[in-house]
């Protein structure tokens, strides 16, 4: 069941992102929330002029997920909006970026503390990764990895 978030929930969600990724995000549009498995909540951003009178299967874009532990994991599109002001980032080499998009974990995290980081390479925003000890755990969704079969015309 998807429902529109209240103003207070929206403020709280943006506050969480800003705190977690050390960012100054200002978001225009409406946020919707959908309850998922294991107490996580998927958050969607909708910027259409109005909510149409149709039974929606999907609305807007998946912006991020509030995980059951309270952390916010951002979708690639969410990261692309947050990254401009975020300071909690890791810069990768192009080779490492290729590994991330192939779905692999990386071995070195250059002394970063545990948690979620925004990944970049040469100005391009790639998504997020989770540092756990000396590993950068892969968070790239399977549908966005390279060497996927995708359907286009």
């Amino acid at each position: 069941m998807r429902r529109q978030m209240t103003e207070e929930e929206t403020r709280e969600f943006i506050g969480k992102i800003n705190q977690q990724y050390q960012a100054d995000l200002v978001l225009e549009g409406l946020l919707f929330q959908k309850d998922e498995k294991r107490d996580s909540k998927k958050i969607f951003l909708f910027t259409g002029t109005h909510i149409p009178k149709v039974p929606a299967e999907w609305i807007g874009q998946h912006f991020g997920t509030i995980e059951s532990d309270g952390n916010v994991t951002l979708s690639i599109e969410g990261v692309q909006k947050v990254a401009g002001t975020a300071r909690k980032t890791i810069e990768l080499s192009r080779d490492d970026a290729d590994e991330v998009f192939a779905g692999k974990d990386l071995g070195t995290t250059a002394g970063k503390t545990d948690g979620y980081y925004i990944l970049k390479t040469k100005g391009e925003v790639l998504g997020i990764g989770r540092v756990e000890g000396d590993k950068l755990m892969n968070q790239t969704p399977k549908s966005r990895r390279t060497r996927q079969q995708y359907q286009t015309e």
Binding site: K53, E77, T152
Partner: protein, 307 residues
């Protein structure tokens, strides 16, 4: 090849000989050539310079698509599965499938319906033409195909879009009405024969007639979803008169408040529709632009309406 096709499906050959006359052999000979690969730069996330840099870095040769500023023809052997593709900077799309969205010409702040939307090539193209503003409703009847549609909408960064999963027939029962509608109807797909030659083997006049009956129901529903003064683009990637001109004529004769508008796309050679009533529709023949076959009609509903 001509002989090959006549052997593979004599009724296809006979039908198209009658339909195309002297041009039949030109048409068939293009079907033997591999289709040109093309991409559309997703201007919601990137500009052409950025994508061209990616192509250059990967040693991929490219050239402009004359009728679509945001599109590039790509060397057919190129591997386009790059990080930039996964980030949504470009979308792999057939160059002729870009034309219906250009003909509809959706603008920011309009409300637009894509009635048969999966896998989302035209939806995402319209989204970028609307600069991710206004309202875009993408409908797809098939549960299995909705997944691909949603993945492509997400990857292209559309946030003005709502996806519905309904039969297009009867969509008017929803109370929403639209400024513009694209009905890229399910069809016998002859346009895709360069990519999938099996399409020709499967072609039959019975299938064409069944599809035409479905298309007539869909176009009536699309008309009923339009606001007064709104625009409907009807398109197929196929050749038969039954699925093209006859569907448009059906709508024009049923609703007297509809009329066809002229179609002109710079850089693209088009032919007129095959009947007097549907003359303003455009036929795109594969031999004219080295593309798929396409049929496109732009229909306007009067500001004062029948319904």
């Amino acid at each position: 090849m001509v002989l090959g096709i006549e052997k593979a499906n004599p009724s296809f050959a006979e039908y198209h000989r009658k339909l195309l006359g002297r041009e039949y052999e030109d048409f068939i000979s293009v079907l033997t050539k591999a289709q040109r690969k093309s991409i559309r730069v997703n201007t919601i996330k990137a500009d052409k310079d950025k994508v061209e840099k990616t192509l250059n870095r990967n040693n991929i040769r490219y050239s402009p698509v004359p009728w679509c500023n945001d599109a590039l023809f790509i060397d057919s052997k190129a591997d386009l599965d790059t990080i930039e593709h996964q980030l949504g900077y470009y979308y792999i799309q057939n160059s002729s499938s870009m034309i219906p969205s250009l003909v509809l010409d959706p603008e920011p702040d309009e409300s637009v319906l894509d009635m048969c939307a999966a896998p989302g090539s035209k939806t995402t193209h319209m989204g970028q033409l609307m600069q991710n503003k206004g309202l875009l409703v993408a409908n797809e009847a098939s549960h299995a195909r909705v997944r691909a549609l949603v993945i492509n909408i997400q990857k292209c960064g559309l946030s003005n879009c709502v996806v519905t999963r309904q039969d297009g027939i009867g969509f008017e029962k929803n109370k929403e009405r639209f400024d513009k509608i694209l009905l890229d109807a399910p069809c016998s797909d002859i346009g895709t024969a360069r990519k999938n030659p099996d399409i020709i083997r499967r072609w039959s006049i019975e299938r064409v007639r069944n599809l035409a009956s479905l298309q007539k129901k869909l176009i009536r529903s699309a008309y009923l979803c339009l606001k007064p003064g709104g625009v409907l683009v009807y398109s197929t990637c196929t050749t038969s008169r039954e699925e093209n001109e006859e569907v448009v004529e059906h709508l024009l004769s049923r609703y007297s408040d509809t009329f066809l508008e002229e179609i002109r796309i710079k850089g693209l050679r088009t032919r007129n529709g095959l009947s007097e009533k549907a003359r303003k529709a455009a036929r795109i023949m594969p031999q004219d632009n080295d593309t798929e076959s396409y049929f496109i009609a732009r229909i306007r509903k009067n500001a004062q309406t029948d319904d």
